[in-house]
């Protein structure tokens, strides 16, 4: 239960930050970059989309699905084993994608984006919780 609560909380934090980024992109506004000044460079780079889909939309969709699955697992909506597999695969893929994006910021773009790093740490924390949890 605790691990699911943590997963849900992290997914909700992820939703709030990606909603912020989506809104800023739609209004063509520059997001506030609390630490560092590379947010604009990273978020407008050619790597900000995968197959024409903006990364913020992909992130938002992932967080919404993860939070829904965490809720299903708490309420015990069947088939439970299916939800467990889906959440493990989704968080696993998201962790690898986050690793790739962090590498892009570090080695290719050579600037750091606060929001992208925060999202990456959120996902990695989810992966650690799933790996350490005995109930998921």
């Amino acid at each position: 239960m605790t691990s699911l609560a943590l997963l849900f909380t992290l997914a909700s934090i992820g939703i709030s930050e990606t909603v912020y980024l989506v809104r800023k992109r739609i209004t063509r506004d520059i997001p506030v970059c609390p630490i560092g000044d590379g947010c604009e460079v990273v978020l407008t780079s050619k790597y900000s989309k995968i197959f024409f889909i903006p990364n913020d939309i992909l992130g938002l969709s992932s967080y919404v699905i993860i939070s829904l699955i965490a809720a299903f697992l708490v309420i015990e909506v069947p088939p439970m084993s299916f939800w467990v597999i889906v959440i493990k695969i989704l968080v696993g893929i998201a962790s690898i994608v986050s690793l790739f994006f962090t590498y892009l910021q570090w080695r290719i773009l050579r600037v750091w984006c606060f929001w992208c790093l925060m999202s990456a740490f959120t996902i990695w924390l989810m992966e650690i919780i799933i790996l350490l949890s005995k109930s998921i």
Partner: protein, 124 residues
């Protein structure tokens, strides 16, 4: 309220309401136990159905706050909801914390009311 404090409060309250909604859906009968007998008698529907309705309301409030959409409305509904919760369950060791959440929803609501709404109140 500063922008950062506002958003921290908004997301924190959103997670609280969403999580409570999920927990009520998990065990509506357990949450029904918090209701005072006099309040339970007033319900026009079975108590479990009423608790599921409460869960949906909590989830709705949580979604509005989390997606930063009509935050004032979400906070306004949350404020009324918490006043009713405190009235029908009484102030116990557990519900005493709702006073803090109520204060937070009021703070969020006053800070996010639409400007034209505030102007209309001022002009009267």
């Amino acid at each position: 309220m500063s922008k950062t404090s506002f958003h921290i409060l908004r997301v924190g309250l959103a997670i609280t309401f969403l999580w409570i909604g999920i927990l009520i859906f998990k065990q509506p009968e357990a949450w029904a136990g918090y209701l005072q007998p006099w309040a339970a008698k007033l319900l026009p529907v079975p108590i479990e159905e009423a608790m599921k309705g409460t869960a949906i309301l909590d989830l709705g409030i949580g979604v509005l706050l989390l997606f930063d959409y009509l935050v004032w409305l979400g906070a306004l509904v949350a404020t009324f909801h918490l006043v009713i919760v405190l009235a029908v369950s009484g102030i116990t060791d557990i519900t005493v914390r709702d006073i803090g959440i109520l204060a937070a929803t009021i703070a969020l609501m006053t800070d996010s009311l639409p400007e034209n709404f505030i102007d209309r109140i001022k002009s009267r």
